[in-house]
Amino acid sequence: MTLPLRLSRARGTSAPRQRTYVFNWAGRIGLAIIVMWCAVAIIGQWFTPYPVGKIVDWNFFGPVSAKYWMGTDYLGRDIFSRVMMGARYTVGIALAAVTLACALGVILGMIAAVMGGWFDTIVSRLLDAFNGIPSLLFGLVVVAAVGSSIPVLILTLTAIYMPGSYRFARALAVNINTMDFVTVARARGEATPYLILREIFPNIVGSVLADLGLRFVFIVLVLSGLSFLGLGVQPPNADWGALVRENIEGLSYGAPAVIFPSLAIASLTISVNMFIDNLPTRIRDRSE
């Protein structure tokens, strides 16, 4: 739900300019699919035809039927119900993690760029060192240490993806920071928060959003990787990545159990990128 929120914030600040933000059709389709999945994630639990963990059919890898809309999985559970519940985990965890990672990374990156000096050096070196730890190994250690729960998963994914976002935002902000309008604001006596929020952020927001779209896809993939190792969402629940993993043997039977979760992942990641790439030009390329 974060993306529409970001948009409305941008709309709020520029209202006096009386500008209308027009989406093209690709952006609208992307937004519609995101909203649809978010709705499923929130209200899906009351509409699942069968309980998520219940084995409803003796026939494993069952075909699409009137009773089971997306077939059944390797244990004979209803895939449609599992995809609906999986939306909670995938959309929720991935969106929460990507938002946290990008927000933290971008804010830290901009502060480092504006302040420079020792703050920049220390933060940059620390996060560089952190970047060197393989992400799945890091996840393994964290889950082994504190156990697996949704907040731990979100924070782990945030920690894995924050340094990249920081690097990206810092590089952009360093470029903007040398522009004369920032110097003018500095000479006016403005404090760091103003410089970051009003002078620098609006000029990097387009690139940051594009980066967010890419990072979101990676987080969905790592989440399914963690689930495969048993570190992710715990059974009987499963995120979409885990659904694909646990039904992978069904691929040779052409089972819908593996196809539909894959389609769900694809539709979400593609629509997020479609939406971001087609944001109104005024938000996306404001610096141009």
Partner: protein
């Protein structure tokens, strides 16, 4: 001029497609001839199409543009009808090009000689040894130092003026019939400009080549061109010999261009209701620099021991060439670059060297305006937001009172109120510079530090900005510290002038008697190097070669 013209351009048009898919005409039916051996100047402000026409003579249009009508004939070749492959054979041999920025035109990783003779080798005009010999004779003709060995250097090992002459050698190596000079001296300092102009002129006189000289500077063009074409919005406004254009301009636009060139004498304003005896700004022994700090001194020292005083209501000009430390001086006074020694007294109180330790009141009373309005205005903020910020920040204005003040400010810089909803990218260069000035005025300062604020603007636009600054000074009782490399601008607005060279003030003069009173050899050199409208100026100019050599850092 009895024989057939070398170049004839007839009803030539260039069109472009904008980002919005709209078709616009850049050149709208231009016709002219160039006789063999004649130098034709294309004059006009930015956007007038002068470079587009010059590039078309090489059969080249910039991406997004296309030739939409008319013909261009160069010698025997019908350039407009040629295929791209045929045009390639034309370029460098029949027509060649000297770019504005030689530094950007040379490949920094190849030796100069290899780049100069490239044309001869590509077109297989002569064997390598012969080409190098020819290049050396060109170096000699262009008065380059050490002509026999300079070709072995890399581009960063020669000065900017030398590089510009080397790029002329590159253009001349194929013995073209026509050379296109695209603002070749615009990026150079005045003292360097002279040596380059002299070299160009002597070569052109010797070889009987034709030339097209593109420039916005009438005085420079007057030294080198036989004929001039004045362009505006892709149309010829006036065509005539240099003498006629300069002395008997027929078209109003030409007169406007010439009027902008007329030196305007500055009349000091009366400082009202202010303590005139106490200096507004007093700088004592200021040192500033960049780089790593060792023993509390930066390793790269720029400013050394700069002292001056500025009285209320008076304007101080700072002149000097690039690298003389004029911008650094403004930055050190504004606190953007903390000075490491010396002191700045503003309205009787000492200012802290760095911004963080100055009070809001001190920051508000002295404002700085930068050269490039493009980068000095946040592209993501509307004009209204940009102007409103200092009002809120310094004076706590909000809501209707702030809106009213923004409108007043726009009115002060002669811009319509409707502009407040626009983004900086939607404004012209002159409008942006006015907004830049209005933002400084929003703080209600007593002193404005102007860092080359008219240098990036066309002459006519710059003259209007100066006019505006004079009016504002009378109205608001301001003082300006005006930094510029252009002496006529400084003369037009300043009471006193500081001449800077290598980070030190060499001389302080009253602006009105700048040329008469200058004592220091560098000031004399700098002042005498400013091109005059008189076509015989360069010929009659006498400068002590030793002096030039000593100060132009060769």
């Amino acid at each position: 001029m009895t024989d057939a013209p070398l170049v004839s351009v007839r009803d030539f048009k260039v069109g472009a497609t904008t980002d919005g898919g709209r078709k616009i005409d850049i050149i709208r039916g231009v016709s002219f001839d160039i006789a063999p051996g004649e130098i034709l100047a294309l004059i006009g402000e930015s956007g007038s199409g002068k470079t587009t026409i010059a590039l078309s003579l090489l059969g080249y249009t910039r991406p997004g543009c296309e030739m939409t009508g008319g013909t261009i004939r160069v010698g025997e070749n019908d350039v407009t009808a040629m295929s791209e492959t045929e045009r390639c054979k034309l370029r460098g041999v029949e027509v060649s090009y000297v770019p504005q920025s030689a530094a950007a035109a040379f490949n920094p990783s190849k030796r100069i000689m290899d780049q100069v003779i490239e044309i001869a080798l590509i077109h297989k005009l002569m064997p390598r040894a012969e080409a190098e010999e020819h290049a050396r004779s060109l170096f000699r003709a262009l008065a380059l130092p050490e002509p026999d060995t300079i070709g072995n250097r890399y581009p960063h090992q020669v000065s900017g003026g030398q590089l510009q002459r080397l790029s002329a050698a590159m253009a001349l190596i194929g013995d073209p019939k026509l050379v296109v000079f695209d603002e070749p001296t615009t990026a150079l300092d005045v003292t360097t400009q002279i040596e380059v102009l002299k070299a160009f002129r002597s070569v052109l006189e010797k070889t009987n080549m034709s030339g097209v000289y593109v420039s916005h500077d009438l005085a420079v063009v007057a030294q080198i061109a036989d004929r001039m074409i004045v362009l505006k919005n892709g149309e010829v406004q006036e065509e005539g010999t240099t003498e006629q254009i300069l002395h008997a301009p027929a078209h109003p636009y030409t007169r406007e261009l010439l009027a902008a060139f007329e030196p305007v004498q500055h009349t000091p304003i009366e400082a009202r209701g202010r303590d005139v005896d106490h200096p507004l700004l007093e700088v004592i022994g200021l040192h500033a620099g960049y780089g790593r700090v060792e023993n509390r001194e930066p390793t790269i020292k720029v400013l050394e021991d700069v002292s001056f005083t500025l009285k209320p209501g008076r304007n101080l000009g700072v002149i000097g060439e690039s690298g003389s430390g004029k911008s650094t001086l403004a930055r050190a006074i504004a606190g953007i670059l903390p000075a490491y020694r010396g002191s700045v007294l503003f309205e009787g109180h000492e200012l802290a060297p760095d911004l963080q330790n100055r009070t809001k009141k001190q920051l508000q009373r002295a404002q700085i305006v930068f050269q490039l309005a493009d980068t000095a205005l946040n592209p993501a903020q509307s004009i209204g937001t940009i102007l409103a910020r200092p009002l809120t920040f310094y004076h706590g204005l909000r809501g209707a009172a702030r809106d009213k003040r923004v409108n007043e400010l726009l009115d002060m810089v002669h811009l319509p109120k409707s502009l407040r909803h626009r983004l900086p990218g939607e404004l012209s260069g002159g409008q942006k510079q006015r907004i830049n000035l209005a933002r400084a005025l929003a703080a209600d300062p007593v002193l404005i530090l102007c860092d080359e604020i008219t240098s990036a603007l066309d002459t006519v636009v710059a003259a209007a900005i100066l006019e505006l600054m004079r009016d504002l000074q009378n109205e608001l009782n301001l003082s300006y510290m005006f930094i510029s490399h252009d002496l006529s601008t400084v003369e037009a607005i300043c009471d006193d002038v500081l001449v800077m060279y290598k980070g030190a003030v060499v001389e302080a003069l009253p602006a009105a008697r700048m040329s008469a009173d200058a004592q220091h050899p560098y000031s004399k050199l700098l002042i005498s190097s400013v091109p005059q409208l008189d076509p015989n100026w360069l010929t009659s100019l006498e400068q002590d070669p030793e002096l030039v050599a000593a100060f132009s850092r060769r």
